[in-house]
Symmetry: C2
Subunit: 116 residues, 2 copies
Amino acid sequence: MTFGDHIREVREQRRRESTAFSVRQVAQRIEVEPAYLSKIERNLVPPPSERTIRRLAEELHEDPDVLLAMAGKVSLDLQEIIRRRPRRFAELLRQLREAPDPALSRLVREVRDGDW
Amino acid sequence: MTFGDHIREVREQRRRESTAFSVRQVAQRIEVEPAYLSKIERNLVPPPSERTIRRLAEELHEDPDVLLAMAGKVSLDLQEIIRRRPRRFAELLRQLREAPDPALSRLVREVRDGDW
DNA sequence: TGTCATGTGTACTACATAGTACACACTTGT
DNA sequence: ACAAGTGTGTACTATGTAGTACACATGACA
């Protein structure tokens, strides 16, 4: 599923409950032209900038990192973290590339809880 | 120190030993115009593309991830790893943002050795 | 002394990114 | 019936990215 398809689906879903989620109204709140949002949802243009994706995420209660990933992007703050210590983070990420999801999940939890 | 400064320094250093490291010769081997490499080294243009940075890294025996970081970029293969599981990797990286370097280093080692 | 390589200044270009602006046809509530 | 809101087609634009092409002055060296 493309970025545009997903946005359209989520927006329409919100719309069933609230009427305030027309293309025009959402576009106005995230400060882009309605025609542009329409094109995004129909995949007539590439996904928008990180800034616009973040506003969309907030408006639709979606995870910004997931939306960015669907758009083929990585959050600038994550890039910044990597850039500060490129060797260590590059090695860590490449080691974890093929890690099964439960293992990765456990690692995240352990790091969070300080058990390491 | 900027990307350009660093490249100039490393290239000149290699040159003291080998004569094959003039701007022109290196430029030819990495397949860019000499004038362009010259401008890169003097910071007259922004750092080049990932592709060109990788060729420079190989030519000068430098770590590509470090050069990319100096250029304000993150390797596309690392971005790809994050994009495949954005939630987990986003959380992991943000948790490790402030981790002291020895701790990070230990974690990398532990993951590498499978002690986890 | 001529030639050869060197570094660099200037001008230009192709393509991508991230949108805006406006008009139009259709539907819908009153 | 009509005003208001809706989604969208078309045309255009500004800025960034990633370079190329060529000419020129300088220095080395045989």
